[in-house]
Subunit: 565 residues, 2 copies
């Protein structure tokens, strides 16, 4: 394994791009899972592939979304020829509204379903993006770039891979991909097309790394159908199936089972209702007339005649399923004998939340069927066995693993090497690392700065590392605030100090010692002739901080305010 | 599955315990994973089995440990005949020092290794507990209770199960258990003893539920040896193995591999050094002379001649391994070609932290071997197949699953039913639910209050739900503090308002609008003749809160302080 180039790569800015060369920079999505965005540059023009969001971790409290860092292209917005969207998942389209704030007339190329999902999202942002529909098999010039689109199989319909031809060479970007050989909609990943492109010669192959560590092959989506059918058939009471709100084929299989066993279906959760409406409108989801009911109608039906398809499979605390698990859902009370199916994976980081939901549902008497005890989920990303097929079809000169953390990228690179790619032609480049394709050889040549851009409520970017670090301190230990008014001519306190603590202790007497302590300190600063409010505040912070550390071994934020009068 | 009694059980206090009956209450450990503590009562006397801690979740920020709730026994401390410890893991012994504060002379019964680990822990608390050594095969009266101890195999040496005989019937409590048929130390779980007890008749069987959902059998610990050996043999550079600091047999296999391949070993991490010292002293760990080196000596050795055994397998941010992954460890810098083995499971909730460590190590060029890509871990808890052996050996009249969340308890109960236990004799009882064994039948008869008792720094119990909920608000959104001095005779502000925000925004101008807004509000309250500082503060909170919600769609804590002058 040591044959691959290792380490995080260059730290200095890249050199000027040589004439006739192609540059690739990920502004998100490499070295992490989410906010995918890759920028291609040729002859002074830019093409962007995907523009998604990343969901925050525990050490990013209060953050709603994390965006790719647009700084590297901020001064070059007029150089952008277009944005290609490979598919409609949030981690590929979620940041588009924020890019549109900078480039309202951006040309956006996506498949029918992808564009429909983006249009619905843009509407919530009161935007009307310039959407151009493309489809598999199509070849189209976008500015300086000659694009070709390929059908790709994933956990959402209508996904595409894109080939980018420039005089510098041919790039193939898979987007998110797997190779289900029996897809529900019959739309195979176009391995034949990839092979043809391979015959032509692929200079740089950007490949989905998500499951590169997983040996073997992903089971066909189709094989889940009988398992779901079996559950629905056996259960006499209510069935609630939770899955991703964009997984049209999973939902289709649930609907089919409902139809077969005489159950009506209610969709639960805003995004589920919206997305399945779009899918049905576009003919991607087959919903027999009269199958759907609303929640009120559903509660009038006998228990054995109804099935709910719900969001909340990741344990999101505000989702319908979480509320059911806590016994707080207005319309659906879980009863002994109900069956809940989690037809989904757990996104890393959501384990505790999901287990909490399972625990709550079980406590109320529901039987919970999940990936751990039944085959009710398959991944949307190619495992190692499938990736080998891709490498052997494409036979690329250079490989750049994308979509994944370092361990995924490394594992994917190793697979490329095993199919015959020279180790020195495998480029592992995290966000911001600049990769130049010069004379058919891809090399890491420099780095542009890529940070986390946080969305919190309505504003973007004003919550940064300093605010987050304050939140972490406050969240761990709360604060103790001490306020006093001081006569700045004498340095004498003109009020008694006011002390309040929040998030520190439930004990109302916990801070009783603080006022006398601060008064003593203020007497000292006054005696020393200190009249500067900042110095007085510092003295107060020091004495209270030391006391709380000694007495409680805790580290709340100490917030002294000295008001000059 | 619906045959089992479901739902959380009774909510009212239990009736008086009938004469000749046995009562069982868990004050921790059922309906959750951790802080195991079960109280048995007969004829007015109490016997406690285990007294462990639970580690906090994300929604319990700043908390160090969670203790069992002692309230139910607080008034009955003099009725306690003794505390039995089944083994030395933190979730079984960690809360003993806190119980000792209430009952310093408590008689504590444990095996040699368990007592040694507890003694080391108690020493840190400056306590010298009254430890009584017991061993498998031993039978001993403890007050009103007649105890018998059985050897049990688990992921720590010297674990015990305990049978409790009273005139009300025979209870068998497994502690944590598995049935490795080829244990490294030859010490089998005493299934023969359990069978003999089963012949005698077991009225209530308390059974470890942790892996009840996992089908089949746990692979022998011994089978990990060759995998570890293979890694150590093949690697030319440094090897770092991280595992639980109490897993003596796992460490033994690592040491054996090091010896075979000519590597010296350094222990890294305080608890690893301490526990392996104890294990070696007691003859449970075989350390050849000259094998161990300290960290300084280790760094002088050639890369292929050294192996580190480290803590940090759960991604603990301050552990040695996490510091290595961030490139911050003083003595060990990860280099390309180093191999790190995570010979451990991931405790649910730690996934993100562990993946972060793996990602960091990989980014620095290390090869990371873990449960996901090599067989370097087996569980310490019996899978479903083993649990069936237990039920068939013991043939209990009543079953009470312990150690686990609801889903584990339910799954374990189902296994009991499949071996012939009547569903109505399976008692699923979460923390606080009172189970009475009367005339050979176990029933849930009531509930005592069991809450979370938080340890934060030096104090116990003063951090409660109100403090935690403040911390969650502060951690999500920070605070905005507004301070003003007001003349309480007129209601007029005598200073300009002081505004400061922490954890709210990095933008220094973010709160510029607040001072004029508060001044306008103060003018209004003054004009209305409001002089009460609380009412003025409320008015300020309302106006600032509304402004921040409208402008930012955020919910920081608003902290107004009105100082009367």
């Amino acid at each position: 394994m040591s044959s691959l180039p290792t380490g995080p790569g260059p730290t200095t800015p890249p050199p000027a791009l040589p004439e006739g060369a192609l540059r690739v920079v990920a502004l998100g999505g490499i070295g992490e899972v989410g906010r995918n965005m890759t920028v291609f540059e040729f002859d002074g023009r830019l093409l962007i592939v995907d523009c998604g969001v990343l969901f925050p971790e525990d050490d990013q409290p209060g953050v709603d979304l994390i965006l790719p860092d647009f700084r590297a292209i901020e001064d070059r917005l007029e150089d952008i020829d277009g944005l290609v969207l490979t598919h409609g998942h949030e981690d590929h389209i979620g940041a588009v509204p924020f890019l549109l704030r900078l480039v309202p007339d951006l040309k956006i190329y996506g498949s029918r379903f992808t564009n429909a999902l983006l249009a619905a999202k843009a509407k919530e942002h009161r935007q009307r993006p310039n959407l151009i529909e493309v489809r598999e098999g199509e070849r189209r010039k976008v500015g300086r770039f000659d694009l070709e689109f390929f059908a790709v199989n994933h956990s959402i319909p209508d996904a595409l891979a894109v080939a980018i031809r420039t005089p510098a060479g041919v790039v193939l970007h898979t987007g998110d991909i797997k190779l289900d050989q029996l897809p529900l909609d019959g739309r195979l990943t176009d391995l034949a097309g990839f092979s043809r492109l391979g015959d032509e010669g692929v200079d740089l192959f950007c490949v989905d790394s998500t499951n590169a560590e997983v040996p073997g092959f992903v089971m066909p989506e189709r094989d889940i159908g009988p398992v779901l059918d079996d559950v629905v058939r056996k259960v006499g009471q209510r069935v609630i199936v939770a899955c991703f709100a964009s997984h049209v084929h999973r939902v289709q299989q649930v609907l089919d089972a409902a139809v077969r066993h005489g159950r009506r279906v209610a969709f639960v959760g805003r995004s589920m209702v919206r997305n399945m409406g779009i899918a049905a409108d576009l003919g991607l989801l087959n919903v027999p007339d009269g199958l759907l009911v609303n929640l009120d109608q559903a509660s009038d039906l006998p228990e054995g005649k109804v099935l709910f398809v719900s969001t909340g499979s990741q344990g999101e605390p505000l989702s319908a399923l979480s509320r059911m698990a806590r016994g707080e859902h207005r319309q659906i009370s879980i009863r002994a004998g109900d069956t809940v199916v989690l037809a989904s994976s757990m996104i890393p980081g959501n384990e505790t939340a999901v287990f909490g939901v399972v625990n709550g549902l079980t406590r109320l008497g529901a039987n919970v069927v999940h990936q751990g005890n039944a085959k009710v989920h398959v991944s949307g990303h190619a495992s190692a066995g499938e990736l080998l097929y891709l490498y052997n079809a494409v036979r690329p000169s250079n490989v750049m693993p994308v979509h994944g953390e370092w361990k995924h990228l490394r594992a994917n690179g190793e697979l490329a090497v095993r199919t015959g790619v020279a180790p020195e032609n495998v480029v592992i480049a995290e966000d911001g690392v600049v990769v130049d394709l010069v004379d058919g050889k891809a090399t890491r040549t420099g780095r542009v700065e890529v940070g986390h851009v946080y969305v919190d409520g309505l504003s973007v970017g004003d919550v940064g590392e300093s605010t987050l670090s304050d939140r972490l301190v406050l969240g761990e230990g709360g604060f103790i605030a001490i306020t006093v008014a001081v006569d700045t001519s004498t340095g004498r306190a003109v009020t008694r100090p006011t002390v309040s603590g929040r998030g520190f202790s439930d004990d109302p007497k916990a801070l009783d010692a603080v006022v006398p302590m601060v008064e003593m300190e203020l007497a000292r600063t006054e005696a020393e002739g200190i009249t500067d409010t900042h110095r007085i505040a510092q003295a107060v912070r020091r004495v209270v901080g030391r006391w709380v550390a000694d007495t409680y071994r805790r580290r709340p934020m100490i917030v002294p305010t000295v008001i000059p009068v």
